[in-house]
């Protein structure tokens, strides 16, 4: 199992009542695996099936592979500008 730290922002931080979460996943894991695990956690039922995810400051698709040490973030719908 590998531990991934997930940064949470805005509404998603409120869903989980935290600004980050540690999630353990069997390697190799993808973004989709991570989202599935998050949706099992208390508050995770408020997530959409395919939330925006960034890895190392870049948005990635759901089959993107995760590596130990990646900076992972769950992004609510963007509302800047």
């Amino acid at each position: 199992m590998t531990t991934y730290r997930v940064l949470l922002f805005a509404r998603y931080a409120e869903c989980f009542g935290a600004e980050s979460l540690d999630v353990q996943l069997p390697a190799p894991a993808t973004v989709a695996d991570l989202v599935l695990a998050l949706r099992q956690l208390p508050g995770g039922e408020l997530l959409p099936p395919q939330p925006l995810v960034a890895v190392n400051l870049t948005q990635v698709v759901s089959d993107h592979p995760l590596a130990p040490g990646d900076e992972i973030a769950l992004l609510p719908p963007l509302a800047g500008g």
Binding site: F9, A10, E71, L75, P77, L78, A79, G80, G81
Partner: protein, 145 residues
């Protein structure tokens, strides 16, 4: 100039640092806090960001615009608590020809909205608050949170 500002933004300061002596045209987009949204009266709002990524994503957009058009581009987005009329974002393009400056500024605004991780929490006339979700179908009741 940093792309994120926790202090009020002065548009003329953003463009003053941008324009060179060979540039005849500067096109600026200023986004301001409106007193209404989706039919509701807005009294204030707060912007927050995933700051490291927001800065990197904005820098990437600026670089792409400057590769695509012969212009210089500046983008500054405000974070924190804003009142009605406050400047939320300034996008400016400076160059030799106005058509390119209009095209670059318009494109950068679209890309910032599409790619930069910034979130907006509105406060309404009845003191309720909600996160703004531009992807929600029109008429959707904002997410209370």
């Amino acid at each position: 100039m940093p792309h994120l500002s926790h202090a009020p933004i002065v548009p003329d300061q953003v463009t003053a640092e941008l324009a060179g002596e060979a540039d005849g045209a500067v096109v600026t987009f200023v986004g301001r806090v409106r007193n209404h949204h989706a039919g509701r009266s807005v009294v204030a709002l707060a912007y927050s960001a995933y700051e490291a990524m927001a800065d990197a994503a904005t820098a990437a957009i600026v670089a792409e615009a400057m590769a695509r058009w012969p212009v210089r581009v500046a983008v500054v987005h405000r974070l924190g608590d804003l009142a009605i009329g406050d400047v939320a974002i300034v996008v400016a393009a400076s160059g030799g020809h106005r058509a390119e400056c209009f095209a670059a500024t318009s494109w950068v605004v679209d890309e910032v909205k599409r790619r930069v991780p910034i979130w907006k929490r509105e406060r309404y006339g009845d003191d309720s608050e909600a996160w703004v979700d531009p992807t929600a179908p029109a008429g959707t009741i904002p997410v209370q949170g």
